[in-house]
């Protein structure tokens, strides 16, 4: 009996000391209302996110969370209207990058650094926290799960034509030639929204120069007309001329599924796309997906590797979606009670075990250390391996760059793939836009 008591005591001591290391803030017992805006109007996310909120409300019956789903296309516009009218929700999502900085500078995002350092939270990956920060402050809590981008290919076609997964860019081009001979178009690209073509550009630049040249172009010490950018631009136009990229790519719309349609109809053999395709495609037809789809990471630039350029920069988003909070009192000071409640919701209920499990079932990897080991889908496995082994994650240019530059960058993608301007010309356009944006910062 004594032994049991001692053990019980020991256990209690251990548990309580562990709890002291990572405590959850105590929330008010007063009735409270939280307004939450997200874009989860579609399954499977809708159920997962609503369930998280439900669990929170069960744990804290005095707090009511009003969860409003906004349709993605108009979300950015809606949030601007709300903020402009002084009606910003208490908790709202964004994709980090430029807009997050803008929300913060306009006073709509609480600084979470202190909360984060004091209270318990999931063990987010470094890349995720870096992305959720700005100006040294943590401004958002990730919850959407990471997204990388890799080349999805049709295993059946590759087998039929007799090609192997390429390791280098030269090998990739050889594969493309073989595919063309066999009557297939190598790449399915739907570039109407332009960020899809940007993926090719970003990867070519990253393979040729790591992060160095992009960072330099961004802060003004370099240029968008530097070697890697010109090389990437020329490569792309070369590929377009050789017919590697489906004709008319500038008019195809990825949201309509035009690129997937090309894969399903066996017109194209490869598609460089974001990892969320591993959710969308099985949703459309599980058998086809399991039978035909494989993944490989964007091939290396052997020549650059020989020069010592790191070949493991990954393009994507470490954060997916993140919540920022807008909890202020009438007098302009922080509404601590509400902020803590929102913080608890975001860190303890979104991102809890049930939530993460459901995410994994839908091929969404939470931005939390350790989850990369639990993947079952082989395609997702490739994505995750590349992602977690990356030396760093470059956020999509069109989210990272300031808004006015993004617009120009996207137009440049149209010009590039449409062979309407040379890589030098688009480099100059981007330089000018970047310089103007830096002047305004």
């Amino acid at each position: 009996m004594k032994k049991v008591l001692v053990m019980a005591l020991a256990l209690i001591l251990i548990v309580s000391s562990m709890a002291a290391l990572a405590e959850i803030p105590e929330l008010t017992k007063e009735p409270m209302h939280i307004l939450l805006w997200d874009i989860s109007n579609e399954e499977p996310h809708k159920s997962t996110h609503e369930a998280a909120v439900k669990r929170f409300m069960e744990a804290y019956p005095n707090i009511e969370v009003e969860q409003v789903h906004i349709q993605n296309d108009t979300y950015k516009q809606q949030i601007v209207v709300q903020m402009s009218a002084g009606e910003c929700p208490d908790m709202y999502i964004h994709w980090a990058g430029g807009p997050m900085a803008e929300y913060y500078k306009s006073g709509f995002a609480n600084d979470l650094t202190e909360l984060y350092n004091t209270y318990d939270h999931p063990d987010f990956t470094d890349a995720a926290i870096a992305q959720a920060s700005y100006d040294g402050k943590i401004l958002a809590i990730p919850y959407g799960g990471m997204s990388g981008c890799d080349i999805f290919y049709n295993k059946t076609i590759f087998e039929e034509v007799g090609v192997e997964v390429p390791e280098t860019i030269d090998e990739l081009e050889a594969v493309c030639d073989k595919l063309l001979e066999a009557g297939y178009v190598p790449f399915a690209l739907a570039n109407s929204s332009k960020w899809t073509g940007s993926m090719y550009y970003m990867y070519l630049v990253a393979r040729h120069s790591g992060n160095a040249e992009f960072d330099a172009a961004y802060d003004g010490t370099g240029s968008f007309t530097s070697e890697a950018f010109i090389w990437a631009g020329n490569k792309i136009q070369d590929w377009v001329r050789k017919g590697y990229i489906i004709e008319g790519c500038n008019s195809l719309v990825t949201d309509n599924g035009d690129d997937r349609a090309l894969m399903y109809s066996n017109t194209c053999a490869m598609m460089l796309q974001g990892s969320w395709q591993t959710r969308t495609m099985p949703n459309e037809n599980k058998e086809w997906y399991e039978a035909n789809l494989g993944t490989f990471r964007f091939p290396k630039d052997a020549e650059a590797e020989a020069r010592g350029v790191p070949q493991d920069v990954e393009i994507g988003t470490a954060v997916g979606n993140a919540f920022s909070f807008n909890c202020w009192k009438e007098d302009g000071s922080v509404d601590e009670e509400k902020l803590k409640a929102c913080y608890v919701l975001a860190t303890q209920f979104y991102n809890d075990d049930i939530y993460n499990q459901e995410q994994m079932e839908h091929n969404t990897i939470p931005s939390i250390k350790g989850f990369e080991k639990q993947v079952t889908d082989p395609n997702m496995q490739v994505v995750v391996d590349t992602f977690f082994n990356a030396s760093n994650v470059q956020l999509w240019y069109d989210q990272y760059l300031p808004a006015s530059v993004t617009e120009v960058h996207k137009d440049c993608m149209t010009y590039l793939f449409g062979l309407e301007k040379t890589p030098e010309e688009i480099g100059q356009l981007q330089d000018e836009a970047m310089a103007a944006a830096r002047a305004a910062m």
Partner: protein
């Protein structure tokens, strides 16, 4: 004698009172929902503002100076003008032809009227969506037809390249709006008293004479209103283009309204976006009023 003057004055005061009574509800609503926002827009155009923050920096006429030199704006304006010209050239004559056909054919042709009207009933969002498929380079109508004609796989790229994109959009707009003008002219024709038609028949006029000497002149004011509406609609246009091309490819179908939307809601430049909107407003009003002045049509007969 002052009596006639007095009568005239009483008469005109009665008229003024009656006019006020009848005009009041409309003007009240317009002031609240339209004049107030327009004034707000002009005021905002004098600030440099990202749209959400509470601080705005007063820059006076700076935005307006930028606007006058803004190549993108004037290129968008150019696109609007092209849209306007082609829309008037396509929608109104075709609408009129359809209406004339129906008017001459009478009740038996009702099925035509119904089917011809269908395109107008769909929302711009729906039409944008549908036509992105129909005009698609891969698998769309034109590519399929071209492949059939050519014998080998041909892709007709309509929306991915300028300037085809703008003309493709103009075509879709014509598809959408022509039925409205058809209905409008039908209503105009129905306004012509049958007595005139009967009189023409009795006088032995053939259809061509009736059309050109009686019906079309009677439609004069209706014609002018139709042109004004088409003009203003083209200059203001947003919905379908936004959902179909978002002003792409690379600004090939950028209109003033899409440019303004991007500035205000995507690029954190609501101050400048308001200047664009206010500039649009001034331009459109000027053009419309000019048109009204130039094409004076006899109102009474």
């Amino acid at each position: 004698m002052n009596k006639p003057n007095q009568l005239a004055r009483v008469e005109s005061r009665n008229t003024a009172v009656a006019a006020t009574v009848f005009l009041f509800p409309a003007i009240a609503l317009i002031i609240v929902y339209m004049i107030y926002p327009i004034i707000d827009t002009f005021l905002t155009s004098q600030y440099s503002w990202n749209g959400i923050s509470t601080d705005r920096v007063f820059v006076g006429m700076e935005n307006w100076k930028t606007l006058i030199h803004d190549q993108k704006f004037w290129s968008a304006f150019g696109h609007n003008v092209i849209v306007m010209i082609f829309s008037i050239l396509l929608q109104i004559p075709i609408g009129m032809l359809l209406a004339t056909f129906l008017d001459a054919g009478g009740r038996k042709l009702n099925i035509f009227k119904i089917i011809w009207f269908l395109p107008y009933l769909m929302s711009s969002v729906a039409i944008a969506f549908l036509f992105t498929y129909i005009l698609a380079t891969n698998g769309g109508l034109f590519s399929t037809l071209a492949t059939l004609i050519n014998g080998k796989r041909t892709a007709v790229d309509l929306l991915g390249k300028s300037p085809q994109a703008l003309y493709a959009v103009i075509g879709v707009m014509a598809w959408q709006f022509t039925p409205f003008y058809m209905v409008y002219f039908i209503a105009g024709y129905s306004n012509i008293p049958t007595t005139l038609y009967e009189a023409a028949v009795i006088d032995g006029a053939n259809r061509r004479q009736y059309l050109f000497k009686v019906a079309i002149p009677m439609l004069g004011p209706i014609f002018k209103t139709a042109c004004t509406m088409s003009m203003i609609g083209s200059l203001k246009y947003f919905d379908m283009i936004w959902n179909m091309t978002q002003g792409g490819p690379a600004g090939g179908t950028e209109l003033m309204a899409t440019y303004m939307y991007k500035l205000s809601f995507q690029q954190w430049k609501m101050g400048y976006g308001s200047a664009v909107a206010a500039g649009m407003f001034i331009l459109i009003t000027a053009i419309a009023l000019l048109f009204q002045k130039i094409f004076v049509v006899k109102e009474d007969f």
